[in-house]
Structures are given as C-alpha cells and as structure tokens.
C-alpha cells in the first residue's frame, strides 16, 4: 500500500473529525481568497476608473483636497471655490495639454429624495473626455443643456425638449445627450460654464450686483498633461496659484485606498484568527489520530519502518487535509464571489463601477501555498511525535 493511500485510509477512519476540520479549512481559505481578490479588484477598478477619466491632475480649492476630488468624481456640492483666474494660470503652463474648468452644484429635490447635480463646463471637457459619445451638439448659447444618460431616463427628455429648473425659474433647451458612459457622468445635467456661474450665484441668494470675481468661480480645473511624467514638475507650479491645491490621480488613488485601509486591517485580523483556529483544528485532528494509532505505529516501527517513514506518513495526512480544504475554499470563493461582491458594493463607499472582485491565478496560487504552509506547520509536531515513539513503548500502550 502506498503512503498516499495509507494516509487517506487513516483520514477516512475518522470521517466526522476529518470533515469538520475540512469545513473549517474551507471557510478560512474562502474568506482569505475572497478578501485578497476583493483587494486587488477594488484597487484595479478604482485605477481604471481614474484612468478612464483621462485626467492626470486636478486643481481644487484649498480645503480638504481629497474630499473635494472625490466629490468632483462622484458628484456633490463643493463648499469652496477657485477664482476664475486660476484657469488662465493653468492654461499658461506649457506642459498642460487640456485644462477643463467646471463648476458643480446640486439642487435638492426633497419630493423625489434626490439631488440634481448641475455641472458647468466648457468645450475643453469634450477634449478631455474624448470617449464621450454625444447625440446632438455642444452648447452654442447660454441657456442650453446636455443631459447625462441616466437623466434622459429619469426626465424622459431628449434633444429638442426643454428642461425647466423651477428653483431658478430658468428654462433650458436640450441640445445634447450623452450615450451611456458607465460613470457618474451619466447622472449630471450639463450647462455652459458661464450659465452655471450665474445660476448658482443666484441660488445662493447673492445680490445681482455681486462682483465679477464673485461670479467668476470654479469648483475645479481638470488637467491632462502633454506628458504624464511631467506631473512632478507641474505640481509645485500649480500649487502657487492662490487658493488652490493640486491633486494628482496617483495621490487620489492612494487616498481612496487608504480609506479602505482600516476596514481591510480589521477583516484581515479576523481572517488570521480563523486561519489559526483552522490550523489548530488540523493539529488536533492529526494529533488525536497519532494518539489513537500509537500501537499501530509501534507495529510499523517494529516491522522495519524508519522514523522518516512514520514522519512522512503523518505529515502527508496534514498535507492532504490542507490541500483538500484549500481546494474546497477556493471553489467556494469562486462560486460565491459574485454574491459577496453584490453585498460589499452596496455598503462600500467610493465603489468603482464594474467588478470589484478580481479572481486572479496569482491570488489562487498564493492562497494555496499559504494554506499548504499552514498545514505543514500544524502537522509538524504530531508527525515528529509519532516518528519518535519508541516501538516497545508503543506496543505496550493501550
């Protein structure tokens, strides 16, 4: 009988105990693999979403720049503003390929339980977001509007229709509508920048005689560089703009990932505890098996089996247990990944669109190697104990 079959026979001799150990290993591995896959998928999704924006850096008002940047990406009302002159200063830099100004504000519609986000833009946004597919045309006159795809569905409005903003008593002609982008862009009402500057000054109740400086304001300037490698050179020069802070997309990605850091640490700690418990389960199973087979091991030693033979046999049992638990856990994770993703995305802040669970072969192999390592460590002591048993004492034992 081969070592492998002998080891399997020993495991099957105590099916319930072996099964329980396998279940705990399976759960631990499934959680570990899912967490690893989620971490990689989330980072990749966020990176892709930021890259898809075609923006290398953002100039935002002084304040909490990362909060401002995330609001710009996800939609929201920014409490501070940049002076309009910031745009001229940005565009004056030779390294800048496109600088797209924007002014964002929201009008709360309590009866609908939502906020309409209006985004003032100019034609530079079309250059920056060159993947946009626009039905109709861009603005030519002040009171014209472009609708994001989701807005066309909510308002049942299309090119040629009119949209009325009751809170400002303003009527807009819909001249364009975006085809689905799969980003937050789908949910915005786009208006000419100058119109947005006037609307939101009015919305805030400022007097009509407000200074030009008061009207001429921006939420952000999104920048595409001619060469992304120029970011370290451009950043300090942009930081000199009065009232402005600069955020590169790399920094923004880092900040968003660090927002996830605490939750990840907590989850990882729980997974580690589960893995330790599983490892103790393996140790317990194999050790109990060794105790129960003391006499059998004594017979083996007395009939010529060496210490190495006995050690290998017992250790092989732990390897089999670990590999079976690992394979079961990986299978469970693959099957349950989409369901877990659905739950996680519902509660996760700043979740990128698309899948946030990346089931990669590298993670697969890493987890399998890890669980095998845990099994080998957990099986070492029982194997050693069995190998060192004196044949005569083992044969005397009951």
């Amino acid at each position: 009988m081969s070592f492998f079959r002998f080891a399997l026979k020993n495991l099957f001799a105590h099916r319930t105990r072996t099964l329980l150990t396998l279940v705990s290993m399976t759960v631990a591995v499934a959680v570990l693999f899912t967490l690893l896959s989620f971490n990689r998928g989330y980072e990749r999704g966020l990176k892709e979403q930021l890259q898809a924006m075609g923006i290398h850096m953002l100039v935002v008002p002084v304040g909490c720049p990362y909060e401002a940047a995330s609001l710009i990406i996800k939609g929201g009302k920014i409490p501070n503003f940049l002076p309009g002159s910031a745009l001229d200063e940005v565009r004056a830099l030779p390294e800048v390929d496109v600088a797209a100004p924007s002014l964002m504000s929201g009008i709360v519609r309590p009866e609908e339980g939502r906020t309409d986000i209006y985004l003032g833009i100019d034609s530079a946004t079309l250059e920056l977001k060159n993947w946009w597919k626009l039905k109709g045309r861009f603005f030519e006159k002040p009171n014209e509007m472009i609708l994001g795809y989701d807005v066309t569905l909510i308002e049942l409005s299309h090119v040629g229709d009119q949209i009325y903003v009751p809170e400002l008593d303003m009527t807009f002609d819909v001249v364009g509508e975006l085809e689905p982008t799969g980003t937050e862009d789908d949910g915005f009402f786009y208006v000419p920048l100058e119109t947005a500057q006037e609307m939101f000054l009015r919305l805030e109740g400022d007097s009509g005689a407000a200074s030009v400086a008061g009207i001429d304001r921006l939420t952000a300037v999104s920048i595409r560089l001619k060469d992304p490698d120029d970011a370290p050179v451009v950043t300090p020069r942009l930081s000199e703009i009065k009232g402005a802070e600069v955020i590169t997309m790399g920094e923004l990605l880092g900040t968003m990932m660090s927002l996830m850091g605490s939750a990840k640490t907590l989850l990882l700690s729980i997974v580690m505890i589960i893995i330790v418990i599983s490892a103790l389960g393996v140790l317990n199973t194999v050790l109990m098996s060794v105790f129960e087979r003391t006499k059998e091991i004594g017979v083996m030693r007395a009939t010529g089996a060496s210490e190495v033979h006995v050690f290998s046999l017992v250790w092989l049992e732990t390897v089999i247990l670990s590999l079976l638990g690992g394979a079961g856990g990986l299978g469970l994770a693959v099957v349950g990944a989409r369901a877990i993703e659905g739950v996680v995305k519902r509660f996760l802040p700043l979740a990128p669109k698309g899948s946030v669970v990346a089931l990669e072969p590298a993670s697969f192999l890493l987890v399998l190697a890890f669980v095998l390592g845990i099994g080998l460590v957990a099986g070492f002591y029982p194997a050693l104990r069995a190998a060192r048993a004196k044949p005569i004492e083992a044969l005397r034992s009951e």
Binding site: E111, E112, G113, I154, E155, L156, S157, D161, Q162, I163, Y164, V165, P166, T171
Partner: protein, 185 residues
C-alpha cells in the same frame, strides 16, 4: 390641436414608477390604513386590447403594471396606481386612486408626485386635478375639449396628466374591472 396634444402626451411614457409617499396619499385619498403591492404581467392579447382602447401603443417597457389595493381594516376600499409620463419640461409622475362602481372604475383622486413644470401650482391645484374626480374609463380625457387646461401655456403638461389618468383607468379595467377578459395564451 387637442388631439395632437393627446397623441403627444401619450407618445412617451412609462407605467412603472415608484409611489413616493404612500402613507400620506392613502390618508388623504381614502382615510385608510394599509395597502398591498400587486404586479401584473401583460400578455399580447391584453396589450392589444389596451392599445386599442387608448388609441396609442404602450411603451416597450410596459410589460408589467403595478397596482396598490388599499384597505380599511380587511375591506378593500380602492386601488392606487402610479405613472410617469413626459410633460413639457421633464417627467411628470401621477398617482391615481380608483374605485370600482357598477359602471366600471372611476377616479377618486389624482395627485402629482413629481414634475418640473412652470405651471407647477396650477397643475397640482384642485381646480385642475378635481376635474378628474368621478370620471369613468369610457369618458373622454382631452384637454381643451372635455377638461380645462391647468393654466395658459400648460396644455402639454395638462394633457400628459389626463392621458396618464385615462391610461391607468383602462389598464385597471382590463385587469380587474368590467372590461376584463380572460387572456388567451
């Protein structure tokens, strides 16, 4: 002109929309306390009959309708339906309460739950919405002929509301009222 308005208002709409404030509406419309949600799938035969009665096609996404039977205690006192349709300046969401009578379903109350119309107040006024009270499924609903407009210049929005009310009554009648026929698969 009135017919053109009716066709225009019936042209772009979708039946399924949320009921935003059921508790308030039930209290105001029925002085009742509870409701259920019932989904009804529409088959080809029923769709044809509804379209024939409306004189307009249903939207491609109108394959299912949602009804909210309202109860006072154990007794059903009416049914609420919702509809989102295209107004002049964006979508208009209408809530219609209907009761069954010997002559078929009639409107008990109508409420606008979302719109961005210029004549917002007039459109929501009892002067306009009150006209629908007691109207039956076979009555005409043409603004400018059978019903007054909510305000000057609000004909498109007014007709959108009227068309929505009539559509919901017809759909109700086809599923639960005297106009009901067993569908042939």
């Amino acid at each position: 002109m009135a017919l053109a308005l009716a066709l225009l208002a019936g042209g772009a709409s979708a039946a399924l929309c949320v009921w935003r404030s059921p508790d308030t509406d039930i209290a105001e419309m029925f002085d009742a306390g509870s409701y259920k949600t019932v989904f009804e799938d529409i088959d080809d035969a029923r769709q044809l009959r509804i379209e024939e009665r409306l004189g307009a096609e249903l939207d491609p996404d109108e394959t299912q309708f949602k009804f909210f039977p309202v109860f006072r205690g154990e007794k059903q006192v009416g049914t609420v339906m919702t509809h989102v349709g295209k107004g002049q300046f964006g979508a208009i969401e209408v809530v219609v309460a209907a009761v069954e009578t010997d002559s078929g379903p009639v409107v008990k109350a109508v409420r606008i739950q979302r719109d961005r119309e210029k004549a917002k107040q007039a459109l929501r006024s009892d002067g306009f919405l009150g006209q629908f009270r007691g109207k039956g499924v076979d009555e005409p609903f043409v603004i400018g002929e059978d019903l007054k407009t909510a305000a000057d210049g609000a004909d498109v929005a007014s007709q959108a509301v009227a068309t929505a009310v009539r559509k919901l009554l017809v759909v109700y009648d086809e599923f639960y009222g005297s106009g009901r026929q067993e569908s042939v698969e």
